[in-house]
């Protein structure tokens, strides 16, 4: 019901080019992923995994992958906590990458990730959406036997990360 009314607002908003803050990112589609995520939870057959957080928001994402010998994602799982955007986008990402080759993952850009999520995000919220995408980039290079150094410092930051005052 509420989402309904927010969608009406959204139509209004789309007429307005100046708009920078949108309410309608909480589409049913997004909330569905948030509440009933794809492959969220522990996964004990992982060959590759990585975890990171954005300390400034408190968003956390861990991704576990089972890669086949021919370099395909056989299974993808995530776990974590945070806002709707960080968690639902991770769910969408897991759903999308299964069956893909490493090459295909390589070609999957940040822009593709934002497009996959759907609703247009302001720069501040894009960081939430891109967290799982960044963790994925690291996960494919983090076989579970290898040196875990990188996982010891899960601090996640980027040039556009600031802190609220």
């Amino acid at each position: 019901m509420r989402a309904e009314s927010s969608q009406t607002q959204c139509a209004q908003q789309e007429c307005d080019k100046q708009m920078t803050s949108e309410q309608d990112i909480y589409e049913e589609h997004v909330l569905d992923h948030y509440e009933d995520p794809y492959h969220r939870g522990p996964f004990d057959q992982a060959t590759h995994a990585h975890e990171a957080d954005n300390p400034l928001c408190g968003d956390k994402i861990q991704i576990s992958l089972k890669l086949s010998d021919d370099g395909k994602v056989k299974e993808a799982w995530f776990d974590g906590e945070g806002c709707v955007i960080s968690q639902s986008s991770a769910s969408m990402l897991m759903e999308t990458i299964e069956g893909k080759s490493l090459e295909e993952l390589n070609e999957f850009t940040a822009e593709d990730m934002l497009a996959l999520f759907g609703p247009k995000l302001t720069p501040n919220r894009q960081k939430c959406c891109l967290l799982s995408w960044r963790v994925l980039q690291a996960a494919v290079h983090s076989p579970l036997d290898a040196d875990d150094d990188e996982m010891e410092t899960p601090s996640f930051g980027g040039p556009s990360l600031g802190e609220e005052t």
């Binding site: 009933d36 400034l56 408190g58 709707v84 955007i85 005052t165």
Partner: protein, 424 residues
């Protein structure tokens, strides 16, 4: 509740209608306040009619600018009841002011093994500079914890002062999260009994309560222009004259010297000693207009009005199931209400509020150690100022009730794909 709604007309930005047709309800005042026309005009007028670099310029504009710059210092001295003008140092902001004390007084005074006492509720501006000093000198930091009612009690302060015998006790006069207000005079007296120097972070106090640094008996006090209806780019470091005089300069450059040779320099007198380079001239002039404006409204009226609003909002929020207000239920408080929703992350709350025209902050509000102690990564904060209205407080409460409802788990079981046409 005093009738302050007329003053809304003095703030052009408060008339703004957002792109989605919503009227702006600006409840993000703890991050930064808005400016009345008189402040904006003071800045424009400076640049349009008499601006020049200040200090020793022997021509009309420089003399006028210098006079206005120094008049601003006098106004600020009066605003906080400093004993002399030259106890007022203009810095880039409250953060720069704390760094000035850490970099000058701290490096000169603090030795390995010394303790600096803070509270767990400090803003990063009043933590990180001391951590940097600690890394350099080997001094220790101690944090006074909250009690179960979100308070730093005077008892805890007294105990910590006795236990740690700190060289410095640095604390905020008003929390930027908890809505609590510190009994500054009492804490300062206790600290002085232990021989500790006292720095008061007044960033959240200056906008809201009449300040008297002499009554406080504080050694250092810092605050920012942009939180008292003034410009960005300027802050104030108040220091007790004898203390400032005993300190080495912090930043070096033009203006802060008496003499420079290839061999070395001697520092200027106060306040120039701590004002290296071209100072924030237009900003100081804007700050004077801000201080004048605030005094014309009356700090007591401001305090009373915003507390009334905040308590009204708080009462409403506490009635919503699943809302946790991170603030004591009773006692003296400020115009800040921070809270956590059981069903929604703070960022989703702020985002949803913004869609309704309501501006709040979400996050750790530069108080990560406090949030860690509260075991919440992020809170939503509504902070009221004198130009806010009861209607805005009501809009907030109503919206929060809706948002809590909207993000309630509904037992969704199937993922709906977005219509293919939507895909870019």
């Amino acid at each position: 509740m005093p009738n302050l709604t007329d003053c809304r007309d003095d703030f052009p930005i408060l008339q703004r209608v957002l792109s989605n047709g919503q009227k702006l309800a600006f409840l993000d005042n703890a991050a930064s306040t808005q400016r009345p026309s008189s402040v904006i005009q003071a800045i424009s007028e400076c640049y349009e009619s008499y601006y020049s670099n200040v200090h020793r310029g022997i021509h009309t504009l420089s003399e006028e600018s210098t006079e206005r710059y120094e008049r601003s210092r006098k106004s600020v001295a009066t605003f906080i009841n400093a004993k002399t003008d030259h106890e007022i140092i203009y810095t880039a902001g409250a953060t720069a002011a704390v760094n000035t004390v850490a970099g000058s007084w701290g490096r000169q005074t603090i030795k390995q093994g010394d303790t600096i006492l803070l509270t767990i509720a400090e803003h990063h501006a009043n933590i990180v500079p001391w951590q940097q000093l600690s890394a350099e000198t080997g001094c220790k930091l101690q944090f006074i914890p909250l009690d179960s009612d979100y308070r730093i009690t005077t008892e805890a302060v007294s105990t910590a002062l006795q236990k740690y015998q700190p060289k410095l006790f640095a604390f905020t006069a008003a929390s930027n999260v908890l809505g609590t207000v510190s009994p500054v005079t009492d804490w300062t007296a206790l600290a002085h009994q232990q021989g500790s120097t006292v720095l008061v972070d007044a960033a959240q106090a200056a906008p809201h309560q009449a300040m008297d640094v002499q009554a406080w008996d504080a050694d250092f006090v810092v605050f920012s222009g942009h939180k008292v209806c003034g410009p960005t780019g300027i802050g104030v470091l108040y220091g007790r004259e004898t203390l400032l005089e005993s300190m080495p300069p912090f930043l070096g450059g033009g203006g802060m010297i008496n003499r420079v040779t290839t061999e070395g320099f001697t520092a200027a007198e106060l306040p120039e000693k701590f004002e290296a380079g071209t100072p924030p001239i237009a900003e100081a002039i804007g700050l004077e207009a801000a201080v004048k404006y605030i005094r014309s409204i009356g700090l007591e009226e401001i305090e009373q009005h915003e507390q009334t609003l905040a308590r009204h909002a708080e009462a409403g929020l506490r009635q919503i199931e699943g809302v946790r207000v991170v603030s004591p239920e009773n006692g003296e408080k400020s115009g800040i209400v921070s809270f956590d929703l059981s069903h929604a992350h703070a960022h989703d709350v702020a985002h949803s509020l913004s869609g309704r025209g309501i501006a709040v902050r979400a996050g750790h509000h530069c108080t990560m150690p406090l949030h860690h102690a509260l075991e919440i990564t992020a809170t939503t904060r509504a902070s009221f100022y004198f130009y806010n209205t009861r209607e805005e407080a009501d809009r907030l409460v109503e919206a929060i009730a809706d948002i809590q409802e909207k993000f309630k788990p509904t037992g969704r079981r199937r993922r709906r794909r977005r219509a293919e046409g939507d895909r870019p």
